[in-house]
């Protein structure tokens, strides 16, 4: 029996829609109501035409599915409408400023999408014989060269599938290096600043290390005193994970010293490269003494975030760590490019494999397209404009809001909620911005700043857009400073009012279930 026929609502709800009038349809002007597919489709419907099976004898050997999935299908017109309607309930870069600090929400060029869809990339299989896919290997090699040149590092592992996966890659390489040194069992301690992104400590733990938190100083950088103190006993030091520019949007002034000290302590320096956009083309992390750094292609190199992914996190490695890089990797030989897939020969010291196949090819094509478009000169300009935009926003907003730290910022501007009146919280400011037509900034991160608001405009915002954005933020901030009660109810003009996350977590409903069939008497 179909679960959809049950679910399809028979009488649409009357939805009040402001101005005293109610809509019968549940829609409101251009904003369309859209139910769940389970309430729209039927199990008999399909939006895909396929030839009828011949009905020949099967070779399943009896290992067949017993119960139908009961999943509804939609005809193509219904499906298209479903997704187009839903899409319009999303905010997006293409709609306006998306100032999520630490996320580098920059313009996603459509040329990149076009190139990734060339059949020569989209329609090749990861296990085809290598002589059939030399162009793919060459592209990966070219991207690797760009990444190494831009970071000033000798090696790069291409397979990590996102930033956190790149962290994993770097930390596993460190672990492998320690194994090679025979110190893996003793060197377990990884220093991580309190301001670090959650993935840093989570990664360290996932690699079997222990996390030792280091403090920030009043300038938002690593507290060198605390850092030195942590190094008093160096015997168990595995390394440090440090974001640079850091999550307060500041360049770690003492980074070279940190590198020296951690190396002297026998540890390695993992640099979180999420904020590479601030310095790309202006500073090579390799010149700062790091040992490993992931690069979020979905940040600095503009591959689209896609509502949560996919990403790609190639990880550059120093000479000290390069031998332990994961398989596969590409070697250029006499007769073309070659994938090293087995843990022998070139890869005999590798820490192993992180995932199936060879990394996020689709993202590689987009990222290289982006790099070629910008060129070395353009990428430098990217960093400079990103930093200029952030400082411009900082200067304009600090007239009302409380900057978390003094001085210039890099690519993002950080504020605390100090300016807000009692009772008004960061979330209220964020939600009020939604009514102004903006996606809120990153809220409550980094943890080291109270009620943190982290604003990263990126270089792809025009001055006019930033001015308009700043005027909205200032207006909201003024209301916050005045303690305006209406902020607590925001947003008022989004497709939905504020959602109850507590209720969601208390009794999680993680999938649709058919409504209880009504008692027969009620029919």
């Amino acid at each position: 029996m179909s679960m959809n026929t049950q679910g399809r609502p028979t009488t649409p709800a009357i939805v009040a829609n402001g101005n005293g009038s109610a809509s019968v349809s549940g829609s409101r002007g251009l904003l369309q109501r859209e139910d769940l597919i389970f309430e729209i489709g039927t199990t008999e419907t399909t939006g895909v035409d396929l030839p009828a099976p011949k009905g020949r004898a099967d070779r399943l050997g009896g290992v067949a599915r017993k119960a139908a999935t009961d999943l509804p299908g939609l005809s193509e017109p219904e499906a298209m409408r479903h997704y187009v309607r839903l899409s319009q309930k999303n905010y997006a870069i293409d709609l306006g400023v998306f100032p999520l600090g630490s996320c580098t929400m920059k313009h996603n060029a459509r040329l990149n999408e076009k190139m990734a869809r060339l059949p020569g990339f989209a329609d090749i299989h990861p296990l085809q014989p290598q002589y059939e896919i030399q162009g793919a290997l060459e592209l990966i090699d070219q991207l690797a060269i760009w990444l190494k040149m831009l970071t000033g590092m000798p090696a790069v592992a291409m397979s990590p599938k996102a930033g956190a996966h790149g962290e994993l890659c770097g930390m596993l390489a460190i672990r492998q290096a320690l194994i090679a040194r025979g110190e893996a069992n003793t060197r377990k301690r990884v220093l991580v600043p309190a301001s670090a992104h959650g993935t840093n400590p989570a990664t360290a733990i996932q690699c079997g290390f222990q996390v030792d938190e280091i403090k920030a100083n009043e300038r938002g950088r690593v507290d060198m005193e605390d850092f030195r103190a942590k190094l008093e006993d160096t015997s168990d030091i595995a390394g440090i994970m440090l974001t640079n520019p850091n999550t307060c949007g500041l360049f770690e002034t003492d980074i070279c010293e940190i590198a020296d000290l951690i190396h002297e302590a026998g540890g390695y320096f993992y640099c979180d490269g999420a904020n590479f956009n601030a310095i790309v083309g202006r500073v090579r992390p390799g010149d700062l003494g790091i040992d490993a750094m992931h690069i979020n292609l979905h940040k600095t190199f503009s591959t689209p975030h896609g509502g949560g992914g996919p990403g790609s996190g190639p990880t550059v490695l120093s000479d000290a760590l390069a031998p332990y890089a994961p398989v596969p990797f590409i070697v250029k030989g006499e007769d073309g490019f070659r994938l090293v897939e087995d843990l022998k020969g070139d890869a005999s010291e590798s820490f192993g494999r992180m995932c199936a196949f060879h990394g996020q090819m689709g993202m590689f094509v987009r990222a290289l397209t982006y790099m070629l478009s910008h060129g070395a000169d353009g990428l430098k300009q990217v960093a400079e404009d990103a930093v200029l935009n952030a400082n411009y926003v900082q200067v304009r907003l600090k007239e009302v809001m409380t900057p978390a730290f003094d001085g210039y910022c890099m690519h993002e501007a950080l504020f605390s909620d100090e300016f807000a009146a009692e009772g008004i919280e960061t979330i209220d400011i964020a939600k009020a911005l939604i009514d102004e037509g903006y996606h809120p900034m990153t809220m409550y991160f980094p943890l080291v700043v109270h009620g943190a608001m982290l604003i990263e405009p990126t270089e792809t915002e025009s001055k006019a857009e930033l001015d308009r954005f700043c005027e909205s933020v200032i207006a909201v901030a003024n209301r916050a400073a005045a303690g305006e009660e209406s902020l607590k109810g925001a947003p008022y003009h989004a497709p939905m009012r504020r959602l109850d996350e507590t209720q969601a977590a208390r009794k999680p409903r993680l999938k649709w279930t058919p409504p209880e069939p009504k008692a027969i008497a009620a029919e």
Partner: protein
């Protein structure tokens, strides 16, 4: 430069407002030695679309595509037809250029599709709940092993001889870093049920696969029972999601955790990524899950809506206590999956699965009929292994010369294990009768 909106004048005005002389002022924290003067040498300058398109297009043209002729490669990634509307939907600005839906009031589009995705994955795998995606099948498998260890507080994981070798390797890498023991059963075409014998009181989980890397499908209910008898978990893996429309799904075998690759539905081959990892489990285990979960709730007006939930499992809240370090997942690929699945529905998926199976059966008939070809896979969905008397690499190269991409040599995935003469080949709805004939004709001439 076309992606940079600031004009020369804008920059001047902004610097003045900031009170900086030049952007160099912002970089004074950078140690002098590390500052670059001009653009990095040896890298080219910016180029227009036309030039870039030519460069990238030339690289693309060097690759032999799966649609160019008879094509039979599988082993964890499958050539299926993706409806044009799916690719259109995922290119909508509002889906493509948005972030993880942390602000649900302006992200209901993403959230509702995730809720639908989770429901679909749960139904397909016949499991209670599914998450909002992992990077891919292999990392989902590795995370499943870790999750089983967390849930059972044990440190031993047993892998079947049919588990995709890349999945096994990824799982080994992650587990060993946490001191988890990996027991790998010897590679074999039809040995998933061996898992039942290896499970012991230390075992956190056993991991079996159906269809496995040789294409063999297996009812692993007995493995589940054996695991449960020793309070271990049974993790059921699949790499071909379309098989769920016809072959027995994890939930029907008693799996505690089901993980697999979702690429086959909605996503092109793209040389191995980005793909979408599917992750489902029983209700009991939900708070041990890695990754994001979307749940139903209400807004201030009492309207139904969706939010990310149970985030206390996740790194951004729990940091070093998180169930995983995953942050960015496979959002857009999950959207492609759910959009394609919504078009298919049960009726379409069932038919698609049958078509795949029948095509593979036709291929098996055609190849089996050739002298010197021995079919190895006893029960299959759309993929099987066969043996010739020749080296598989040589056979494939000769097939290639005749325009047929014949499959994967087993020794590429499982080197040094006596599979040098084995080829694993898949046949999907994209394979035509002519393709099968071309394969059989070519192979006949070779062996």
């Amino acid at each position: 430069m076309r992606y940079l909106p600031l004009t020369h004048d804008d920059r001047k005005v902004m610097l003045a407002r900031i009170g900086a002389a030049s952007v160099d002022d912002f970089y004074t924290d950078v140690p002098e030695a590390a500052r670059l003067d001009g653009p990095i040498h040896d890298l080219p300058s910016h180029q227009g679309e036309l030039a870039v398109e030519r460069h990238i297009g030339e690289l693309a043209a060097k690759n032999r595509t799966a649609s160019e002729g008879p094509f039979f490669v599988g082993c964890g990634a499958y050539k299926h037809h993706v409806p044009a509307s799916v690719d259109h939907i995922i290119q909508r600005s509002e889906f493509l250029t948005t972030y993880t839906p942390y602000q649900p009031e302006i992200a209901q589009g993403t959230l509702q599709t995730l809720f639908e995705f989770q429901t679909q994955v749960a139904a397909l795998t016949a499991m209670d709940v599914a998450n909002a995606s992992m990077y891919d099948g292999s990392t989902a498998c590795a995370e499943a092993a870790l999750m089983a260890c967390r849930a059972t507080r044990r440190k031993k994981v047993i892998l079947s001889g049919g588990l995709h070798p890349h999945y096994a390797a990824a799982t080994r890498t992650l587990c060993e870093a946490q001191g988890i023991e990996i027991v790998q059963l010897p590679a074999a075409v039809d040995s998933e049920l061996e898992l039942a014998k290896s499970v012991d009181g230390e075992t956190a989980c056993v991991i079996g696969q159906s269809p496995n890397v040789f294409g063999t499908i297996t009812d692993m209910s007995s493995v589940a029972e054996a695991a449960h008898a020793r309070k271990a978990l049974f993790v059921s893996v699949f790499t071909e999601a379309v098989s769920l429309g016809l072959a027995m799904p994890p939930g029907e075998m008693g799996a505690d955790i089901a993980v697999g690759e979702g690429q086959s539905i909605g996503n092109p081959l793209t040389f191995g990524g980005p793909y979408v990892g599917l992750f489902a489990c029983t209700q009991k285990l939900v708070r041990q899950m890695p990754g994001r979960l979307c749940g139903e709730t209400q807004d201030a007006d009492g309207k139904r809506g969706f939010v990310l939930t149970l985030s206390t499992r996740e790194q951004h809240i729990r940091r070093d206590k998180a169930t995983s370090n995953i942050c960015t997942n496979a959002g857009l690929c999950a959207l492609a999956f759910t959009a394609h699945m919504t078009l298919l529905g049960d009726a379409g998926l069932t038919r698609l699965a049958r078509l795949n199976h029948e095509t593979a059966c036709d291929l098996a008939d055609a190849l089996e009929a050739i002298d010197g070809v021995e079919l190895l896979t006893p029960r299959f969905f759309n993929e099987f292994a066969f043996r010739t008397k020749m080296n598989a690499e040589a056979v494939l190269a000769m097939l290639d010369e005749k325009g047929v991409v014949g499959g994967v040599r087993a020794s590429r995935l499982i080197p040094g294990a006596g599979f040098d003469d084995v080829i694993i080949c898949a046949a999907t709805e994209c394979v035509t009768a002519d393709d099968i004939e071309a394969y059989a004709d070519a192979l006949k001439e070779i062996v």
